[in-house]
Amino acid sequence: MDTLEKIRVLGEAGKYDICASSSSKRAGASNGIGNPSAPGICSSFTPDGRCITLFKVLFSNSCTHDCKYCQNSSSCNKQKVMFEPDELAKAFMNLYVKNYVEGFFLSSGIIKEADYTMDLMLDCVRLLRNKYLYNGYIHLKIIPGTSRDKIKQASELADRLSLNLEVPDKSSMSEISTVKDYKLDLLKRFRYMKKLDLPSGTTTQFVVGSVDDTDYRIMKRVNWMYNNMNLKRAYFSAFIPIKNTAFEGKIREKLDREHRLYQTDFLMRKYGVKFADIKKIFDDEMIPRHDPKVLLANETLKEPISINSADYNSLLKVPGIGPKSAMKILNHRKSAKIKSIDALKELGVIVKRAKNYIEINNSFQSKIGEYA
């Protein structure tokens, strides 16, 4: 099989992995090719609205594991394909220098065993760094069960490492795989990773709805990962049944659920909301079909927040006020009081969302028109 055909097959095999656009605090070098520090550049978009930033492929679609949702599972009957390390490095560099992609994402099915697969992936990444002088962004997947030594080697070459948990706990894992050990193959590897100095940190991904996990259990695990494993962020992927897999007949998960999980995760990660507060929004362990920030505000803001005296954390609780606009409000208050809704709009507040939770000059927002 030629390289082009491998790109087609192994690109398709890796399309369900999620990664963000490249950004890394690692400084670029003037004697190489590429630059890891330009975040947010999307080189293209697919018709599902997702951006293509990284050259995202699997090293091989051959896998010893039997994950029931996965198209690369050992139980699936498919054509087995594998890159040669230099072949893949060349194919990526060809697209990178011509500015089709902004970085490299490499994952793989498990060939023989974890360390053997990781070695092949590392060979490819070493070629990129040493032979092709590639200095750009690399996101490398850690294969479940990889040894501490290989993880350390990976951390010296990549900007970001990730390992997919897929489900929130051991009992759910037993429903999707007979091989993967949740504690030994996954959590233990995160323990190794958390001690490493990675420019872009570590991430994980959950397949939402492949088994009967609740949002509560997923977010509880995510919170635990943030607190104990130094996780940078979590990704969520609504389960889609794939032909020829054991879960082919299962019902597809709604994208709305994935969206709510991202919103809730955002509250914890960017707004600093504690999980103890997040717990208040769950209804029968699921996030209701409303914006979690509004649900949280309804639960926690019994009184309107005074725009002119509230602290940063209180302002952040208001729907329509984000970290940037909260900072702008604080800065504005240093020189003058906020006296009108228009002034709030200018500071970036989405007044339509915020109006039910704020008061200006001791007047409640129900009289909002009076401020204009």
Binding site: T3, L4, E5, I7, R8, V9, G11, E12, K15, Y16, G28, S30, N31, G32, I33, G34, N35, A38, G40, I41, C42, S43, S44, F45, T46, P47, D48, G49, R50, C51, I52, F55, K56, V57, K90, A91, M93, N94, L95, V97, K98, N99, Y100, Y132, L133, I240, R252, L255
Partner: protein
């Protein structure tokens, strides 16, 4: 526009270490700085309407009032060989691009949100969007 241009500019490569492209939109001088910092080993050449800008990281920018092909030829004569990359990028990219689409998640609203019509008119977005549209007009896809 700057952001779009640095994302959607596609280069050709000369194995003398030159990345070159024609820019269909009004030339934004700052994008050449972005690319020369990103690819410090290579010369960057950008042409807009017969005016060719050349920059290598750490050197002074030069402007030639002639077509890129001519400037490229002049530079190629004086430069040593550099890396060799495949000339099959367009095919490689199209196969990769097609492989990433998850049909069950089709979201034309979001797709539309991210594709400025201006870029499509300018032809910057290239053939991948033609494929994404299934060779339909974008208006057909979005209705």
């Amino acid at each position: 526009m700057y952001h779009h241009m640095i994302a959607y500019t596609r280069f050709n490569y000369s194995n003398k270490g030159i990345l070159y492209a024609k820019i269909p939109d009004e030339f934004t001088p700052s994008i050449i700085n972005h690319f020369s910092a990103k690819f410090p080993l290579f010369y960057i050449m950008l042409e807009h309407k017969g005016k060719t800008h050349v920059l290598k990281f750490g050197e002074e920018k030069k402007v030639f009032y002639k077509k890129i092909e001519k400037v490229l030829k002049d530079y190629e004569l004086s430069l040593p060989d550099s890396f060799e990359f495949s000339t099959n990028s367009e095919k490689e990219w199209s196969l990769f691009y097609d492989s990433q689409y998850i049909r069950q998640r089709k979201n034309t609203k979001l797709f539309h949100h991210f594709i400025p019509k201006k870029l499509e008119k300018l032809g910057i977005l290239g053939k991948e969007f033609e494929r994404a549209k299934g060779n339909k007009k974008i208006t057909d896809l979005l209705t």
